[in-house]
Amino acid sequence: MTDNPRPITLAVAALGGQGGGVLSGWIVKTAENCGYIAQYTSVPGVAQRTGATIYCIELFPKAAAVKEGKLPVLALTPMPGDVDIVIAAELMEAGRAVSRGFVTPDVTTLITSTHREYAISEKSAMGDGIADAEVVLKVARDRAKRLVAYDMKAAAEAAGSVISSALFGALAGSGALPFPRSAFEDTIRAGGRMVETNLASFANSYERAQSGQTDSDTVVKAVASTKTVESKQALSKPVEALLERIRSSFPAAIHPTLIEGARRCVDYQDPAYGQFYLDRLDSVLSLDSGPRGYVLTETVARYLALWMSYEDTIRVADLKTRGSRFERAQKEVRVKPDQIVYLTEFMHPRVEEIADTLPAPIGRYIMASPRLQTFMGRFTKKGRHIRTAKLSGFLLLAFLSSLRRIRRSTLRYKVEQARIEDWLGRVKSPAASDYDFAVEIARCQRLVKGYGDTHMRGLKNFAHLMDASETLAGRKDAARVLSGLRNAALADDVGETLQKELETLSSKSKSVA
């Protein structure tokens, strides 16, 4: 029966709000205008609330039905191995369609946008939970008869439209449907809404799909590359001295990281702070002989720079008041030239943060006096709204930012530098005997991030790991176990997994003893 007329089957995989319904409607209208019987259906309901939905479309030539004198029987769900065209409005949904068997090499044209709408599990991970796009792209390339893949969301937005028009254009351009380009465009025109922008976006994607040019080979995660120092740039004397020291005292392979780290420290405080950074790295390099490619020094260089530029009130105020920041925010919220934008910051300084920013003796005095804390606490119960683009707010933050000059005397500075020294000491001590372990200890700095309670939790986890590293010292598997513990610390935000792992560790070491 293979010679008998068959329906063209399509599956549209989209997330709620991506316009999968609009796209399906367009396809149906186009098909009907081209002499096809069209049926489509979907499963709305809770899936529409941010979940994923599959629209099932079937098209059947009317002439064949007239000849037979009977209407075709069209299916309401896509069937694995029997889907001619799969359209995915997001990369992982393309992956899901492949995983459900809808994409097969003998028939399926797969049209997918390569952009990502991150799922909640990816977003809420404590560290980096983003799924590997390469895996999906590889499978898509292997499984599809024909693949049209590029960032259709960006393509549509460039034309002032939304993704459905780009998907529609890519579908038309792929040639997978036996309809002329004009039929697709007529459908958009008949829709009567956003016609110009939709047509522009359609045309762009049509041509891209026709040319067969896809991004599927080049969407590999773009790694933010470090800025190098341009030779033409005029440098201050202290900076020249810093760069010269890096060039002369450190191996070339790790220069980019060190330059970036030094740049951070100078931007954070001053060139002398950059020299302080290099002093500390010097002491690590002296233990790092090189056959391992200076992994230890480079790892420390990265985390040390982050730690030395810890986010105190002064730093936050500094970053918030910069002109470049104003420009970036305006671009991000898409302010048009004739519009005015005001920014409001949400700050909630507690007694801790205030004491942190004061000269250490005063800060310590406050933190040692419960009565003073209770008194000050009354004024810090509520968060503050600070309007940075208005003078009053800006002046307040500019003042805080200017405290950079006294930063070295603040309580927070003293506390952080002591913590850094402690950490460096722990990294250095096993460097000669167990290099990998030293690297792992250095990496634990990653746990210390965030503000307020989050920062406290991170520090607590970090302290647990440092304690554990003492127990682990000398063990053959020390590096591996510590790395496992670090992952456990990132597994949940109440420390449950880490606690369990630590308990197992202590019971094991007891039984060994």
């Binding site: 995660k221 919220v333 519009q339 005001y342 003078l391 989050t454």
Partner: protein, 714 residues
Amino acid sequence: MAERSFAKEVETLRVGAGEEFHGEGILAVTKALLQSGIAYVGGYQGAPISHLMDVLADAESLMSELDIHFEASASEASAAAMLAASVNYPLRGAVTWKSTVGTNVASDALANVASGGVTGGALVILGEDYGEGSSIMQERSHAFAMKSQMWLLDPRPNLTSIVNAVEQGFELSEASNTPVMLELRIRACHVYGSFTAKDNKRPEFRLRDAMENPVRDTNRIVLPPANYAHEHEKINKRWPAAIDYIKKNRLNEFLGAEEGEIGIVVQGGLYNTLIRALEIQGLSDSFGNAKVPIYVLNVTYPLVDDELVGFCADKRAVLLVEEGQPDYIEQAVNTILRKRDLQTRIVGKDVLPLAGEYTGEVMRRGIAEFMATYGGELAPGPRGHNVPAESESAPEELAEILPPRPAGFCTGCPERPIFSAMKMLEHEMGPFHVSCDIGCHLFSILPPFNIGNTTMGYGLGWAGASAFNTESDKRTISIMGDGGFWHNGLTSGVGNAVFNKNDNVLVIIDNNYAAATGGQDILSSRAERETKATGHSIQRAVAGVGVSWMRTVSSYDVELMRTTLRDALTTPIKGPKVIIAEGECMLNRQRREKPIKSKMVRDGKRVVRQRFGIDPDTCTGDHSCIRLSGCPSLTIQENPDPLREDPIAYVDNSCVGCGLCGEVAHAAVLCPSFYRADVIQNPNVRDRLSAKIHGAVIGWMQKRMERTRSRHAF
């Protein structure tokens, strides 16, 4: 006003005899009702028939032209009880709801109307929420038909068959004095197709004709001795009458090959999937010209013994395709054949799964297995099309990385902040027993909130925690939406708690609509409607049944919500504690406000647009904010900082500026990275002047600061 407007589509309901009607299954059903001369229609929303309720609501003016009364019922029980109008009078009426959950609620009234029987045609349209995308327990409506002896139609999923089923449903109901249920699966409700229309019809007998000439017949009331008589009547009179009508009008169909040694019996609703599966196996073409005879049960209850026996008698084996469990039809068919001493082998759930949806692939496998054993010369069916290679199973690496996409709160949803507050309180006081309800708020049980222990049904949030009414150092928290509150929660939850002197806490989420089902209006909705009375406050109802500890909190005020919850959980005052969280459903609010605002902008009026942003250089990538929010517009992006590894939080352009990000940052002492941008569109002279002054000074200072900084830049 509901989430989706059908105002445009409703106009197509006016098409007359002979014209082609194009549209969704739901619209086709509405058109069929208008063609059937109904006098009244009602129901309660819920997927997949929410849109039917929306279509009916939008068609109200058309219906009143036709003397049809539309009732947006308070619950499925109210809707089912409406059918009482057809008991004594020749009034045709239809009601609709989501099954099986709605049928559960309706079954008291349904059993009564089924016992006494009807004079006018009574049709129940069941939106069957089973299989992929379903949000409820997986059960069958079939059991309700059997227990009350109502007839169950399950038509083939094309618009012509569905429309015929509606029209014939009324006739069947009248012919057998029995209410009839019409089961529509979720995809059939939403399938787009076409059919040839007929003229709309006014009811011959109107509601007012009945009201002005009341008829009383005690034989139709469920009270002794009539109740005993009803049971006999069902078996001796109504059942045979139904069988007679079904046979005469050929409601069930014999399709496919004229004859054969084997055959297939299928529920009408599964016919299209069956044909596709047969086609793939090379046993049919696209027009349903199958190589095996097929008996299509458009009526799945009652079964017509003679038809079944006739179909099976000359066959070695028959494949019975019956979705869901228990296998009521398979049991019945086996009994029928056994009693006639027929040896035809009935193959059903031995080759098809006992449980779960019968998708195309599931059915194809079942058919392949059936054909391999019983197919004879037809077996094994060659796979006719699109043969995937054996190695085609999806690679495991892919399955591992694909992130699940659980449903969640929409961007800017007013329910999210309530659970952000609860999450923070959990960090502070430890976990609570939380009894959930049905509605959008049930998404709290999913990531990132992971709050909620049980859910017992619509409006039953507080009743679900009623056992925990005892001395304890910790109180329980129950959740209820405004939809569930008016559906039954006012009595089953609040009244119950007052009467039993409950000491626990209830949070009522008042978002102005039955939001989860598509934003239908309810008693406490704020919008004014011509045909419905809105604006009835939940507070007055709660106080009215005797709650004295009651607080109202704006749901976006996270800090106040946390304090109020803490108060409720720790106050020494005994008795039920109710917190009402108010905040309009953002989906509906945006739909209402967006066109107005963009028109204002177009007209040159001053409009302030708010949205949130995050500074990438202060965000450290810990994602605490996401774990306390889960807003779709709060997402992540790669870290632009070459030294940092973890992705940073990022607010995309879908942000509606609800304010939660700032509230959470404050209340949880999170992070200073969030900022709110107030974008003034069409600024006035004062705005411009002020911006100029502030901008000039700030700009000057920024330049000065930049000069200092750039001294050592590299």
